[in-house]
Amino acid sequence: MMIKVFVDEEACVGCTLCVDECSTDVFEFDEEKNLPVVKREKECFGCFSCLEICPAEAISHEDAELSDNYYHDDYALDFAGKLTPGTPQQVDVKNESEQKKALGDLGIRLLSIAAVFRHTLGGSMPAVGTMAGRTLANQLPRYHEPESFQEVLEMAVNQFGPSWDLNFSTDGDQLTVTTKTCFIRELCSKENIELGGDLCVLFYNNLAGYLGKMGGIRLKLESMEPGNDQCVYRVKTFQRKKY
């Protein structure tokens, strides 16, 4: 279906940035009217770079398909809807089947990335997960720095709990991690992919890297029990030397 592009003439401020940004030259600038004109609409492939650069948010698209919409945050979309009641939203991914499709798409990509990592890195693949987790710990927003390992675990539950139904239980230096929901597990059972594969290893190492960095602790995986209802990781923790 052809994408339709509209310019809100009242809102436009005549900056010509959309004419510069568009990689397929959809717009031409009308110097007299001080407005961009949609000249080659059929060239538009819906990259939304004009929408992004427009300072007045004067450009809108119709019939453009948002393929990679899984990065949108439900809270933010809901918030935007409450800011502008009565105005149709440009991005609407509340559609459940669309969301499922997008999640499936993401899952397949993650599984392939994990396979590529294993193929190219071999035994050092888990280290990549750990490094990613440490980077995550540095970058994830938080109200305050945690003061105990217990607080680190609480923060992790707050941060990742909703997506993975994450639970921690500690017994001395033993830590048990359980995850109940996992959209990739559903995908695996549908596509006959064995559980506990490379992606699960990456997932664990990512979490371990995060917890280790946040809590100043070293974690050693003792056993991993993937299952159809829940996955359990049994971990031994070591307090790191103080420098």
Binding site: L17, D20, A56, A58, K82, L83, T87
Partner: protein
């Protein structure tokens, strides 16, 4: 029958309530269709009478605020986050940068006129930070603004009363601004400036940082049309709210560097350095602090 309106005032400055009174003669038109059952600046009503519309000003900062907003939610049908503090935390959201202990010991110990002994006893317990009200209760409509513009207060009430054709538009401040955005060469970044010599040309084209292009229009662009650059008081635009990769700093820097010959990094560094100014209205909202590109604590040197 007249719709009943109840209002409440949490951690805010009462400016939003004054904005209601600022409706002037429009208030009289409005009073034809609504009736105030609780409004702290005009009436002495301590309870929480049942109402159709609730306007809540200010953020949740203490357990007193939390209780008040919960009571409001129980007593009204539709709850409006009234003003930037209620929607995003507002200027007092700067408290998000510091721990409560650090703030209290600064106030009761770090100043010439106070001592630790002046710490109040039995005062409401502080929350862990400045919290936008939608983290505590369900909000139906967000009406940001510092304070909300009278036009949009009337508009929001019309939307809530289900009047036909009443909408809250999604444009940015630029969509109402009369200045012409044009490309210039030989412009330098004017640090600290909030105004510019040419009154018909966009601030960005003249080297002055204006947040109009990343700010939701809830103000009829009254500042920029009268000669002052936008400070972003109505909070981020819809694009910044919905798209995780778009942020106030990188969008302003990108547009400004395309319009002028100022280096993009120079603008980015300047905005990061002055983050407390440019992010002051919405930094305690997850909409802003959860963005991967936003590192306000690092930029301003707070651990």
């Amino acid at each position: 029958m007249k719709a009943k309106v109840s209002t409440e005032w949490l951690s805010g400055c009462s400016g939003c309530h004054i904005a209601v009174v600022d409706l002037h003669e429009k208030l009289l038109n409005l009073v034809d269709s609504i009736e105030f059952v609780r409004i702290p600046v005009l009436m002495d009503e301590r309870g929480y009478p049942k109402a159709d519309i609730g306007l809540v000003e200010g953020a949740v900062r203490s357990d007193h605020d939390r209780e008040a907003v919960l009571k409001m939610r129980e007593s009204v049908d539709k709850l409006v986050a009234f003003g930037t503090c209620a929607s995003y935390g507002g200027v007092s959201g700067l408290g998000w940068l510091y721990k409560d202990d650090a703030i209290l010991s600064k106030v009761y110990g770090g100043l010439p006129t106070t001592t630790e002994a002046d710490r109040p006893e039995g005062a409401p317990v502080l929350e862990h930070s400045v919290i936008p009200i939608d983290e505590v209760v369900e909000v139906d409509v967000h009406l940001p603004g510092c304070p909300p513009h009278p036009y949009y207060i009337a508009q929001a009430i019309k939307v809530l009363l289900g009047e036909k054709g009443a909408v809250m538009p999604a444009g940015t401040v630029c969509s109402q601004c009369n200045r012409k955005m044009e490309k210039r060469v030989g412009v330098t970044l004017k640090k600290g400036a909030v105004t510019a010599p040419e009154k018909d040309i966009c601030f960005l084209s003249q080297g002055v940082i204006c947040l109009g292009s990343v700010t939701l229009e809830r103000c009829r662009a009254q500042c920029t049309n009268k000669g002052v650059a936008c400070a972003g008081c109505t909070g981020p635009s819809i694009a910044v709210v919905t798209e995780p990769h778009l942020d106030i700093r990188n969008m302003v820097a990108k547009r400004m560097s395309l319009l002028t010959d100022i280096d993009e990094t120079e603008i980015r560094d300047y905005i990061a350095k002055e983050a407390k100014t440019f992010y002051s209205y919405a930094l305690s909202s997850p909409i802003i602090y959860k963005k991967p590109a936003v590192e306000i604590r690092e930029w301003v040197g707070v651990k």
